[in-house]
Amino acid sequence: MHSKVVTMKDAIAAHVRDGDTLVIEGFTHLICFAAAHEVIRQRRRELTLARLTPDVIYDQMIAAGCARKLIFSWAGNPGAGSLHAFRRAVEARPAELELEEYSHFGMVTRLSAGAARLPFGVMRNYMGTDLPAANPLIRTVNCPFTGETLAAVPALNPDVTIVHAQRADHHGNAQVWGLMGVQKEAAFASKRVIVVVEELVDESVIRADPNRTLIPGLIVDAVVVEPWGCHPSYAQGHYDRDNEFYVAWEEISRDPGRLRAYLDEHVYGVTDRAEYMRRQPALAERLGARPRICAGVSYGY
């Protein structure tokens, strides 16, 4: 099988198109900012962005004019405040961003149904809430066996999903440890999948520990090797979350001028993630992870 390894620039150019529904997943952990920045640099437009937590990553994409619509369940800056580009777009009259919102369980169920190629997913949820009134796609269905009324949400099948992993081989067999979020479901639900990794490894490394593979290469279209590709998010075992940056984003995003200056300097002003890191030499020392090795298991028989 031929290698799927390409540059970030080529991966985004080939797989992310104007008007696509794009998912860059990762719950706090493994959020691929390097991919988002390349989407911004290539000036993709009219995207429907979907994620449980839009986070700073989608706040930057909204500010850069990439987004037409947001599908989400929690739009805050975790532990630090608001996403101000998001809020400005939503509080504008008329609103500049279309919203479709669920709870986390609702988003997880949408992607799980999409991954299983079912038309919808069910939960026991949303009784008494105003969410179905705000979003007519949250409906009910009666159980054919018990008659119970359950909540139903439509499958979500993105055009493209981008997930970051600690390591993968040339074919995209990707291994993740630490928080796994909803990446597996998002990748299986998607028409196209880009895997971005901290480290490219030989297939034998993957085969030595198959239980750790979250995304199999057979659903992957492109592999990008991008160390530090998640900063200011984190990669367990590689680098810590840059909580200082998340706190700083509260002030940066509050002021459209400062936000634009940030994008000019750290997104438009660099060609790729390697240059982004070269321009901020103190990051690696401040955030590099101390090792905490697990002993491993025997797969013998």
């Binding site: 706090t28 509080e91 709870s103 369980f105 008494g128 809430t129 796994m180 979350r241």
Partner: protein
Amino acid sequence: MMAAVAARELRDGEVTFVGIGLPNLACNLARALHAPNLVLIYESGAIGAAPDRLPVSIGDPSLVTGSLMVCPMADVFQLFLQNGRVGVGFLGGAQIDRWGNINTTVVGSYREPKVRLPGAGGAPEIAVHARRVLVISRLSARSFPAEVDFVTSPGQRSHGRSRRELGMPGAGPVKVVTDKAILESDPSTGEMVLTALYPGVAVEDVERGVGWPLRVGAALDTVAGPTGEELRLLREVLDPRGLYLS
């Protein structure tokens, strides 16, 4: 004080769905004091977490290191929460009303909000499924209206219908811990009533902080102030940088 009061509500061994901020402090305080076997579940997928630093977010890497299990979020919601394995959930919000309904979505109307808040997160499913829910919020008339602008997470009665009529498995918000007093849901009506005051706080102080005619429970207790050990742990061990304690 709120963190200390909330910590006292937790029982040893209980499975607790933890949110960030004060709930996280309360859970870790309880773990250091009377509830060493508290099982902390974070919606990010950390089960039995034992963080050795105060997590800034609910997806902090310290929740993974040394935890009992790390699972996909689908498992958290399906296999733990919907399965009925969560004993107590913590919620907060911009608005909490007379029936314990919580709003974290919008101030004003949904289509044309005055303030856009973060939204639901995992709160609605916690409010539906956790066996009981503790709410933590500072008291103010703005935060405690008679009726929330938007029901993100259901309380004891929503749009005139009770939890039982709506078919919710958990008991919902049974207690609201504020910075002045504790409110509890009346077992027959579901209305939040005043059941305990902090030292030095008068009933009128609490009445001014809620937007409905507050009923006072049959037995009005006084909450014991924080002990020296509670304060020491909170200030010196759990939140030495004052991230959440002000």
